[in-house]
Symmetry: C2
Subunit: 577 residues, 2 copies
């Protein structure tokens, strides 16, 4: 077994994660978190919330997972959120076309091949069905939308979709959110929640799920905002830029300020979030020596994004994306501004009101009506727009106006422009968006993969997860040496007291002490307390640390204070004695 | 406007909750939590987790919201989770039949009227359509399943459903969970998450949503477990028992031990959870003078439940259920045990192995085959069962065996029973379940309704939410008196320092100080810090408390320590000076 197989077996056996509904045969792409996994997950989510929402002074919101179709029509998910599905005409098994290309012809791997292009590739490369080995020449190709559809309510049964990302819930509520932000930019809005993608081929484990958890932050900025001043630090970002990828180069380790100064990262906000995230990943147990930020190649960049970096971790030789950092421009807000009845712009007041000349048209309708008919309003509004950019356009005898590809010539004499002085107090703008989007399930998987070790303690092999104590599922195990002589009741009282101080405690009295330590090592519990007969002499118990397997004796009265100081980092175990 | 209208307006204006997707006309039954609501919600969820999971030493798990249909076939939701839908033949508007009965004939209100019974009531009471006022005699009636359906994967498109409760996710994983509990009863498993019900008529606000959040705890107990010893306390439970409801009596205020001793509550586990919950509700701001536990009448008790109590709060004269406490017996586990391929029983070892006489049948198949045909195995297994309960049954010449309502007479002489001595080390049992099931959205709504006040401070009217500081969306507001003289940068530094100590901080510099206080009062922020010019003389700032509107000056260096002690309850504001 590889380390990953060992880890997956451990995850199921010890309650981190497992395929859900196994008693009914399960359903691919749906996983459940057991007691250890769910505790780890909620600790990670709370840690993210502290770091990216509370400490940054941002908002968090929580929007429904089901939304009506107009929202996804506007966002583009209803029409464009597809994977190309190829179905073998012989065995009728379906595959994702890009995966098929990728597995058989690695150079062709791409997630954006059209049906037409793929048809050509099919015969050019004589692709065969991985299952029945027959030719795929007669296979059927279809665009398969990745959203889960449902119907809402009785009667008309309004179509609804399960959200494919939490971000749209933020964008669609933007008019209200900008009110809450009291009209000031920049402001950030986060959401932690479930998203859904009806994947054609979910992977085993947590790396490609049909139901998964995202933690997304949308930072709304002024279009001209190039980011905050970056305070120079020694944090090294492991960057794998487009130019390094193109030249088959290496990861470059640079500070955020160097990355900006050397134009590796263009927008300072992106550099800011890469630094913040690096520190966070480090604090939750991601091994930074198996980690990089890979810039999207121009060909893989989403059409709305001007720059994008993926945080990737190495697991068993593969690089897996755990977070995307994208500059989305005003793509999302402009879509909703166009498709909905609401106003998604913000009014940004100028520091000082400005005087401006405004041109008003007084068109001769006796000419425009008969000449342009219904096109007239559109033509006049276009001229209005041209005039606001350049007030001298009426100096020439004729104006050229293009409507839907046709150029119309308009004699200036019929427009009778007049000018007036107006006071401009601000401007309406569509904010731009910087989006760090975290995949919580993949982060959980990465933490387990990166903290999993096997070593030998006192001549005995053990496996352990060196999960940081700030997020470990259980903080302390409490064991009576024996289940008699009152050791068990004393231990239960200690466990109960520690729980009341808000610590996550596991009480265990079964098996040898060695076995109980191994069980806790294996789920990443950083500390264990054992109560033996010496307790009755001097009220001390032993405190054992996971990584070193070292033990010290401490007074039971100071136990909760010491454990709390270990948890909040104000003391470390090796200093205790 | 009633207080509730004022509250709903406040909720939307200040970012607690609002109808989602308003820019696209919204969708009934789907609400979004704004910044204040989402922070309140996650604080409440964490408080619940601490109280009902961590301090109790239980497990929490997290299972998918989508599950395949066999799970809901087994649980009974696919066939029985319906509301009766009546559609007017004139205007084609649909209603929930029980609501229609309830609104027009209050005495008939029931959630369990069959289509046949309803047809009779229609003509008996000449019910009319609330919308077009025409008779409903020709209306159509149909059972409308309340689960949202979807399809999973390409090709065969497996049917899946969005879970109507988080509990099934726990029951269906029971075989694994009992392993994690190392085979010992009792043990509790909790889940906090989204559930879905395709309500025919969702209500405005948070009281009947189509997508909502539950926090459910399933306590698995031995069938003979009548609950823990209840330590006598002074907590008074406001009980509205079946007998008090039947006699139009009052709520009785009794301690948990009195409730058990006087047989008002039968199972001590229910009494235990009612007490735990009462203390929790109190700590999160539910007004216990507008609160009761109402026992289910025998007619409304779910067929699987032997006893059920609802926690109800009074809002604007209505009693609203916020939590159900049910004794579910072994209903759920036995359903999954029968329908799935897995074993949902637990092996409970006896303290001492026991010797037992076992009866084996040696039936004369020459008689049984021709006489009972295919029924033979079932008849013999029934006799086996009868013999294990009473070994003397073979003493009488004939046995009566009932199969599907038909009684068969079996002459004992054809059975040839023999006995052997066996050693029994334990028994396989299906655990019973005690379930406290909390509706988080309704709890949020109740907290807002119960903490909302209007009063007068310094001759000025204000509205405030006296939300307990342990769960308030914002813990402290930080304001510069003016945005000049460096007061703003000092304030921003203070805000940023407090955030680093993990406090939820809002920085606000716009409007008069009075207005800023009012804004924070209205969202329930318990403390505000204002920085004025005196800071430059003695490094002190003012700290104001919400409820009393009292202010004290404190040293900026001790600010974070004082605020943390106020948050964890180790000091109270009135003692500070």
């Amino acid at each position: 077994m590889t380390n990953i197989d060992v880890l997956n077996e451990l995850a199921k056996r010890r309650g981190f994660f497992f395929s859900a509904n196994d008693s009914y045969g399960g359903l691919a792409g749906f996983y459940a978190y057991g007691p250890m996994g769910a505790a780890l997950k909620s600790n990670i989510e709370n840690s993210w919330r502290t770091k990216f929402v509370i400490e940054e002074g941002h908002f968090e919101i929580s929007t429904p997972t089901i939304s009506p179709s107009p929202v996804f029509k506007a966002s583009g998910h209803l029409d464009g959120f597809d994977d190309l599905l190829i179905t073998c005409s012989t065995c009728e098994i379906s595959y994702r076309a890009d995966h098929l290309l990728g597995s058989q012809h690695t150079l062709l791997q791409s997630s954006d091949v059209s049906a037409k292009e793929f048809k050509k590739l099919l015969s050019k490369y004589s692709l065969t069905c991985p299952s029945c080995k027959n030719t795929l020449d007669d296979s059927t190709l279809q665009e398969f939308n990745l959203m889960f559809a449902t119907k809402v309510g009785p009667g008309s049964q309004t179509p609804g979709y399960l959200r494919p990302e939490t971000a749209q819930g933020i964008f669609v509520e933007f008019p209200r959110l900008s009110d809450y932000a009291r009209g000031k930019l920049p402001f950030g809005v986060a959401q932690i929640g479930t998203s859904y993608r009806n994947e054609i081929s979910p992977r085993k484990g947590l790396t490609r799920l049909r139901e998964f958890t995202q933690a997304e932050l949308e930072l709304f900025i002024h279009p001209t905002d190039l980011g905050p001043e970056i305070t120079p630090t020694t944090t090294k970002l492991p960057l794998y830029s487009v130019s390094q990828q193109e030249s088959n180069g290496d990861i470059e380790f640079v500070t955020p300020t160097e990355a900006i100064d050397e134009n590796i990262i263009e927008n300072r906000w992106l550099a800011y979030y890469l630094e913040l995230s690096t520190n966070w990943y480090d604090s939750i147990g991601i091994d930074l020596t198996r980690f990089r930020y890979r810039q999207h190649m121009p060909s893989e960049l989403a059409h709305y994004a001007s720059d994008c970096w993926d945080a990737e971790v190495e697991i068993d030789g593969d690089w897996i994306e755990i977070t995307g950092f994208a500059h989305r421009g005003n793509y999302d807000l402009s879509k909703h501004n166009t498709h909905s009845s609401a106003d998604f712009t913000m009014f940004i007041p100028l520091d000082e009101p400005q005087e401006k000349l405004q041109t008003n048209l007084n068109p001769d309708m006796g000419y425009f009506g008969p000449t342009f008919g219904k096109l007239t309003p559109e033509i006049l509004s276009k001229i209005d727009e041209m005039a606001s950019e350049d007030s001298t356009i009426f100096d020439s005898p004729e104006l050229s106006v293009e409507i839907d590809g046709t150029t119309h010539s308009i004699p200036s004499e019929y427009l009778h422009p007049t000018t007036e002085k107006i006071t401009v107090t601000g401007e309406r703008i569509l904010p731009h968006v910087i989006e760090p989007s975290f995949g919580i399930d993949r982060i959980i998987y990465s933490i387990l993969a990166h903290t999993f070790h096997e070593d030998t303690i006192d001549g005995e092999a053990r496996s352990l997860l060196s999960i940081p104590s700030s997020i470990s599922p259980i903080f302390v195990g409490v064991f009576p040496l024996l289940t008699r002589d009152g050791l068990d009741t004393v231990s239960q009282d200690i466990a109960s007291n520690l729980r009341t101080s808000g610590l996550s405690v596991l009480y265990d009295e079964s098996g040898s002490i060695g076995k109980r330590y191994r069980r806790q090592d294996e789920v990443g519990t950083p500390f264990c307390v054992t109560v033996d007969h010496q307790y009755f002499e001097d009220q001390t118990v032993t405190l054992r640390e996971r990584n070193s397997a070292m033990q010290i004796r401490i007074d039971v009265d100071s136990l909760s204070t010491i454990l709390e100081s270990l948890r909040n980092g104000s003391s470390i175990f090796s200093d205790l004695k």
